[in-house]
């Protein structure tokens, strides 16, 4: 939703914060064409004309500095801290926010003389921005004797806290020094920290470069460390760079992260190879598959990962990943045909909601238990085949199959899932996940009470059985359990929970009046 800035007290900063947090925020300047031209050509904002950007940018920079110096002038002139408002030459109150906004466009190569001239001319065409609030923010800082320190916190231009009372006098002399390459090591790093343009070209010997790096690291500022690394990467052979970074772990981590971010996969892999970090090398290569959308291509890529030096367990996982995708491609092709042909009942009754490609193994197993349950082991899509190929544990298999068959309300299949025959041919019920879990899953899939009852009865722990039976209203089980426990009181109490005149009530009455039972209470 567009938020209009105009006609409002201001944008809700929180909203912009939220936008930034989500990654990006964008503003579009949506004025009419006429407006725009007028705006960009107005002398007021001349500095923003982009047509001749080098000159204009430097001009902008100058006017910007002029504005800032002007503020210095105004501030320093005005030592009365109780003044709430600061007033510019035009008589308007000065907003004091300009000092945190820095214009950091690249320097143009124009001569200092030329700059000074422009400086002078731009001053005349510069007006102070209108304050956004009449109550100047600077008043918040009263109690501090001058604003200089605060200003230089963020002001890229006033390198020395120079009090230039007359901005026309020219650039602070620090600005010139940048071109004479005579910044000391620590000055260079300090300038980098302040976000200033600073050439590193004079650091040519390996020793100089490494000292520069170490100075950057000792400042703890990741941005500066990365800036130096970008320079080193450009000016050192990778063998030397790698060798030196191997013993400088903080810098090394920054380089690795930088390479990941800019996506220089080749150099990253070279680096891991050099460092003999084989596992990271393999994982980093494997990671690329995430960017491949086409399933065939992704499959082919995964194949190239199989021989890589993963840890033993990950080797198996990558192999499985490849096999799984290979299967999914086959299953997807067949099922898509089946579905569109419209001849197969299961697909007509339960149309597929999504493609099976790139789904996890358990989801694939569920899918196969849902659509291909009865298939012979020989086909790729049969559940049994999946179970064997991927060595799916019994527990996991039963859990998934149960969920799939219960969803289809195929109670026979559910029954068969837990039936085992012993060598004498007797059948026995067995559940690797415990029957209490079975009951819960069946209940979630809204199985009828008769079915639930059957499985509740198979729960061995009596308390748990009673609990489940009560929870899911399996009256027969509850009644029988109390009878077996000879718990007359509970049974009487339970009588009130069943419907009046129901078969359950009759059953309870029959038991209560039986003379066979020796009640314990």
């Amino acid at each position: 939703m567009p938020h209009s800035l105009t006609g409002r007290a201001g944008p809700a900063v929180a909203e912009v914060g939220a936008a930034l947090r989500g990654g990006l925020g964008e503003e579009e300047m949506s004025r009419t064409k006429g407006d725009e031209e007028e705006y960009w050509n107005s002398s007021k904002f001349k500095a923003f004309t982009f047509d001749d950007e080098d000159d204009e940018l430097s001009q902008l920079k100058e006017s910007k500095r002029a504005v800032n110096s002007l503020r210095n002038f105004v501030d320093d002139d005005d030592d009365d801290d109780d003044d709430l408002e600061r007033v510019s030459w035009s008589g308007e109150p000065v907003g004091s926010i300009s000092w945190t906004i820095k214009e950091t466009a690249a320097n143009s190569g124009s001569t200092p003389e030329g700059r000074e001239q422009k400086n002078r001319s731009s001053l005349s065409s510069t007006q102070l921005p209108k304050p956004t609030s009449t109550y100047s923010l600077s008043s918040f800082f009263k109690g501090r004797t001058r604003l200089g320190s605060f200003q230089s916190l963020s002001d890229a231009l006033s390198d020395t806290p120079a009090k230039s009372y007359a901005p026309e006098l020219g650039r602070p002399k620090g600005e010139y020094r940048d071109y004479s390459n005579d910044w000391s090591l620590s000055d260079t790093v300090r300038r980098l920290r302040k976000g200033k343009v600073c050439s590193l070209e004079r650091f040519r010997s390996l020793q100089d470069k490494l000292q520069l790096l170490e100075e950057a690291v000792s400042m703890h500022d990741g941005n500066v460390i990365t800036a130096v690394l970008i320079f080193l990467k450009r000016t050192l052979s990778k063998e030397i760079l790698f060798r030196e970074l191997e013993v400088r772990q903080v810098a090394l981590r920054h380089l690795i992260h930088f390479l990941k971010e800019i996506g220089d996969q080749k150099l990253l892999l070279d680096l891991f190879r050099f460092l003999d970090r084989t596992e990271e090398l393999a994982l980093s290569h494997y990671r690329e598959h995430l960017n491949i959308q086409d399933p065939e291509k992704r499959k082919d890529f995964l194949k190239t990962c199989i021989g890589l030096p993963f840890s033993a367990e990950d080797c198996a996982h990558v192999q499985d990943h490849y096999t799984l995708l290979e299967r999914q491609i086959i299953i997807e092709a067949i099922d898509q045909n089946l579905e569109s042909a419209g001849q197969t009942e299961i697909f007509r009754k339960h149309p597929r909601k999504a493609s099976i490609l790139n789904m996890p193994l358990v989801t694939t197993l569920f899918y196969s238990c849902f659509y291909h349950y009865t298939e012979a082991e020989g086909t790729f899509s049969s559940p049994v085949n999946l179970k064997k190929t991927f060595k799916i544990p019994d527990k996991q298999y039963v859990l998934t199959a149960l969920a799939a068959r219960a969803k289809l309300r195929a109670w026979h299949d559910v029954d068969a899932l837990f039936t085992t025959k012993n060598w004498l041919g007797y059948t026995k019920k067995r559940a690797p996940i415990g029957f209490h879990r079975v009951v819960e899953i069946l209940h979630k899939n809204s199985a009828p009470v008769q079915i639930l009852q059957e499985y509740v009865n198979l729960v061995e722990d009596v308390d748990m059985k009673l609990n489940l039976a009560t929870k899911f209203k399996c009256h027969d089980v509850v009644i029988d359990a109390y009878r077996d426990l000879k718990d007359r009181q509970q049974l009487v109490a339970y009588r009130s929970k069943v419907d009046k005149g129901s078969a359950e009530e009759e059953k309870i009455d029959a038991i209560l009046s039986s003379s066979q039972i020796r009640w314990k209470n």
Partner: protein, 590 residues
């Protein structure tokens, strides 16, 4: 219920100027400088706009640069000329400029910075809104945000005076402190004459205490965050809460009179409180029955509006509670909490492990399963290798093989590890250290900071008494310690450390704890010599969380403040919770 502040509690400093500062800067930047009058959210798609100028307000990230470069280069190919402006917040990074240069648009695009790093989310909470801090620093070891932190601290000391007492723990805390001190020297701050408004500052790295951040939250605000996700101090309540067909965006802060009374409460108290409140409200409405015309007029003009407002808030929070209850019952929250408490206390580990396993097998939310695995790992000093292997395999089978990458991340960050069978790690270390010259020897260890570390949670917990011994029932209505934020089962480690240090005004006597936390090198105290801070200022404490804090931690410290007569103010890189931490570590499909 709803503890009032002690009468002697110090006043909080006024954060509204920060809000105003940020707002004015932004307006100036957008309106005055660039004449922007419409805002759109940037999504990764082409811009359909006939505008002649585009202005981007972005975080300094490579992918944002690529997006802009794409746009500019598409325009160029189409023979279209536009003006482009990029405003970086909070600062521009050299790597971004490099990308602009590489993409051939350096010079076509001009850059600005908006040094916005402190967003007051509430009267006592400042957020830098940098959720990426966590992954950048704690996973990748990138220190790019340290400068941002120091700039923020510098701004605060400029506004509220220097901090006479400074404590910290964690590598990032130490580095931030060093850079901050250097900055103050360079800037030659003339804050010396000022009386400090805030007496103490405490810097704390998130990795000092992962456990607390990994726990399910049960105080109201934390629970709302876990359930609905609070973003930038506000939450979207869906139709299930508003009981209408619309969603509602609600600001959650001290100004919401209902919320401010329940935010720090254990959830079990909230219902009772709300219904009491509803009854009171009803009674106030009912008063109008016996009124004559004049009284009625008064009632309508003076009280009705307030009552209606309260009514609206009340019904929203009741709706939220119901919705939370419904969701939590469905996911068997009771069982989950029981498992968490067992992990914290260190009993029935086998049972907890199979509980987690079942979670995974049944494909319950991947983030939830991961969180429990991490909690198990940290409280147990890593998983035993057999469990690690089998749980990881099952995890990959349930949620996708690409999570191999997630596991690798978690291992690097020290969140999910395998108990070392012998000395596999020291082998790597010794191999590297052979290559190390004497000069750099000190730097080698930190590369393995997370790998080599054991979490030692059990020992720390014992030393700091994190699991309160409870005789009988823990009365959550009348909390006796900070453990109430976790139902009386666990005192948040981070908050306990802060409590202990403040009590001692140093780390003295905490050597063993610091050693167990692997922070012997990076626990520090920095006292100004002759500061004349008022006694009021000395009871005001700024806690800085590097890597994020949870609402539960805020509640616990607010409680501590009330007990001891302090007042806490919080600065965090972002408000976080277990899900956000896990998501930050996950490798998702692109």
């Amino acid at each position: 219920m709803a503890f009032p502040h002690r009468p002697d509690a110090p006043e909080l400093p006024d954060f509204s100027m920060l809000k105003r500062l940020a707002r004015d800067q932004l307006i100036y930047l957008l309106e005055q400088q660039h004449e922007v009058d419409k805002l759109y959210k940037v999504e990764n798609k082409p811009v359909h706009s006939s505008s002649e100028q585009l202005c981007f307000l972005v975080r300094p990230r490579i992918k944002n640069m690529r997006y802009i470069a794409n746009l500019v280069n598409t325009d160029k190919l189409a023979g279209r000329t536009r003006k482009y402006k990029v405003i970086f917040s909070p600062q521009k990074f050299y790597a971004c400029e490099m990308v602009l240069e590489e993409e051939g648009i350096y010079g076509d695009v001009s850059c600005d910075e908006w040094a916005f790093s402190l967003l007051p989310l509430d009267v006592d909470l400042l957020s830098m809104e940098l959720p990426e801090f966590f992954r950048d620093y704690f996973l990748e070891g990138d220190q790019r945000w340290i400068n941002t932190v120091t700039q923020a601290l510098h701004l605060l000391s400029t506004l509220y005076g220097s901090f006479p007492n400074c404590y910290g723990i964690g590598r990032c805390a130490k580095m931030s402190h060093e850079l901050w001190r250097r900055l103050e020297e360079e800037e030659d701050c003339e804050t010396k004459g000022r009386r400090p408004e805030i007496g103490h500052i405490f810097l704390l790295d998130r990795d000092v205490d992962f456990v607390t951040a990994l726990c399910s939250q049960v105080v109201y605000e934390g629970l709302v965050d876990d359930t609905f996700r609070i973003k930038c101090g506000s939450v979207d309540f869906g139709p299930e809460v508003t009981s209408s067909d619309r969603s509602l965006k609600v600001l959650l802060n001290a100004e919401d009179k209902v919320f401010s009374e329940i935010r720090n409460e254990h959830f079990s108290n909230v219902f009772g409180f709300l219904s009491q409140k509803a009854r009171n409200l009803q009674a106030q409405y009912d008063r109008r029955r016996g009124m004559d015309i004049k009284q009625m007029k008064n009632f309508v003009s003076q009280e009705l509006k307030g009552l209606k407002q309260e009514h609206r808030l009340l019904s929203l929070h009741i709706g939220a509670c119901e919705s939370i209850m419904k969701k939590k019952t469905k996911q068997d929250f009771q069982e989950l909490i029981k498992t968490e408490h067992a992990l914290l206390e260190g009993f029935n580990i086998r049972e907890s492990t199979s509980y987690i396993e079942e979670h995974i097998d049944r494909q319950v939310s991947p983030i939830e399963s991961l969180r429990l695995l991490c909690l198990l790992s940290i409280t147990e000093n890593g998983l035993i290798p057999k469990d690690y292997r089998s749980l990881k395999t099952q995890y990959l089978q349930s949620y996708g093989p690409e999570h191999m990458l997630t596991f690798s991340n978690l291992r690097r960050a020290g969140l999910l590890t395998e108990q070392a069978p012998g000395d596999a790690l020291t082998a790597v270390e010794s191999k590297v250290s052979k290559l190390v010259t004497d000069k750099a020897a000190g730097k080698i260890t930190d590369a393995f900071s997370s790998l080599g570390k054991r979490s030692n949670f059990r020992a720390i917990s014992k030393k700091l008494n994190l699991i309160p011994r409870v005789d009988g029932e823990y009365d959550l209505k009348v909390p006796r310690d900070m453990a109430y934020v976790f139902s009386g089962a666990y005192v948040p480690l981070s908050c306990r450390i802060i409590e202990q240090v403040l009590e001692r005004r140093s780390w003295q006597g905490l050597d063993e704890v610091v050693r167990l936390l692997n922070c012997s090198e990076c626990a520090f105290t920095d006292m100004a010599k002759e500061e004349k801070a008022s006694s009021e200022a000395l009871r005001l404490i700024l806690v800085v969380f590097l890597g994020g804090c949870t609402f539960s931690e805020l509640s616990a410290l607010r409680f501590l403040g009330r007990e001891k007569g302090y007042r806490f103010i919080f600065l965090t890189t972002a408000v976080t919770n277990s899900a956000r931490l896990m998501e930050a570590m996950s490798e998702m499909r692109a």
